[in-house]
Amino acid sequence: MSLIRRIIPCLDVQSGRVVKGVRFQDLQDKGDPAALAAAYEAQGADEIAVLDVAATPTGLQTQRTVVEAVGRALSIPLMVGGGVRTLADMGALLESGADKVAVNTAAVLRPSLLAEAEKAFGRQFVVLSVDALRRDGAWVVTTRGGRDATSRPALDWIREAVDLGAGEVLLNAIDADGTGGGYACDITASISEAVGVPVIASGGAGGPEDILKVLTAGKADAALAASIFHDGRWTVGAVKRYLSEQGVSVRC
């Protein structure tokens, strides 16, 4: 049978609290990370992502405290990202309870970090996070949470990163983030078909139809969403029931 598609609620964390904005701006408080994570697990989440949106160099200690608290509350996998710069950062997060760590800017600046991380922790621990931006019809890689655009085509970079050691790809289409206007299915599908590792689609979920679309037309292995769950518009369970009715294989 084909692998079950995963639904991953995402907790964007700043100073120990869950926040959410639109395209990374105008952040609003959405609650305590461990309490929200436990609630999403109870609703049927397949995995939880905790991303430090402030991602400051001094933030690692705060992030470790959050990861420890969330990890204690969970019995499902925990992915952690945001501001991860070095192998030592990754090791510290593993020790705190992260099952996988997402690296973004640091890997763009120094791709060999991915190979070193794969050697030290195994491929399953290394998630390549990509903030992609559509520019003149092409998807390019951005760094520093979307603040700096590069000229590198997203697909090109992701291929290299997977060859180096990334075991999974977290693809965030930042044009769509927090807008509820739907995932970027075109780029997600082309990347999912091009690489031999799972692709997690992120950015733009407004409802279960968007999630259905990215898991089918977008060929994503998993869908990450934040706003639709934080706002209480949808529970994870309700989304999975809808997906199941539409013929998508999910864990109920």
Partner: protein, 198 residues
Amino acid sequence: MATGHANVRSLLNAFERLGVDAGLTADPETVRRAGRVVLPGVGAFGAVAARLEQGGLMQALRERVAAGRPLLGICLGLQLLLEASEESPGARGLGAVSGTVTRLAVQAGAKVPHMGWNLVEPVGADPVLGAKPFHAYFVHSYAARPAASGDVAAWCDYAGDRFPAAIRRGAAVAVQFHPERSGPAGLALLERFAKGSP
């Protein structure tokens, strides 16, 4: 048991939630004497096998299995029960179960590692695994191929490759998935192992 690499924190968290007194050790004597031993493991077969061999832990584990004392292997901890692995030619496992470990043989286009939730189907009623199929969280690129199908306690199917999700040899049971990350079904499994009769 401390094998390095593995997210042992999540395993310790799980036992804490279950009210089970658990600690981390790399001491062969403790491994021989403990009431229950868990061998977790993420990483390469050869590297972890070498570390266990150097620390005298491989021998302690072999004695434990031979004596019929409870052991739970998780992920690489299952693969280490076999004799060898394609992942690390020349490296020796525990050899408690005859057979080797080979790369997942999936249909064209299917992704490896096998990462995510999949259905575990127990062969019969196992005191630790239970009798009913359940979903569990997998992360692996290799799978055990025991010589005798009687050693397989549960099966899983991924993209055309039917592989052992669990193996049992006496009081030693091992799972390819991560019970500490498999929600309530995984916690129940850990509880049955920790609190069951020896």
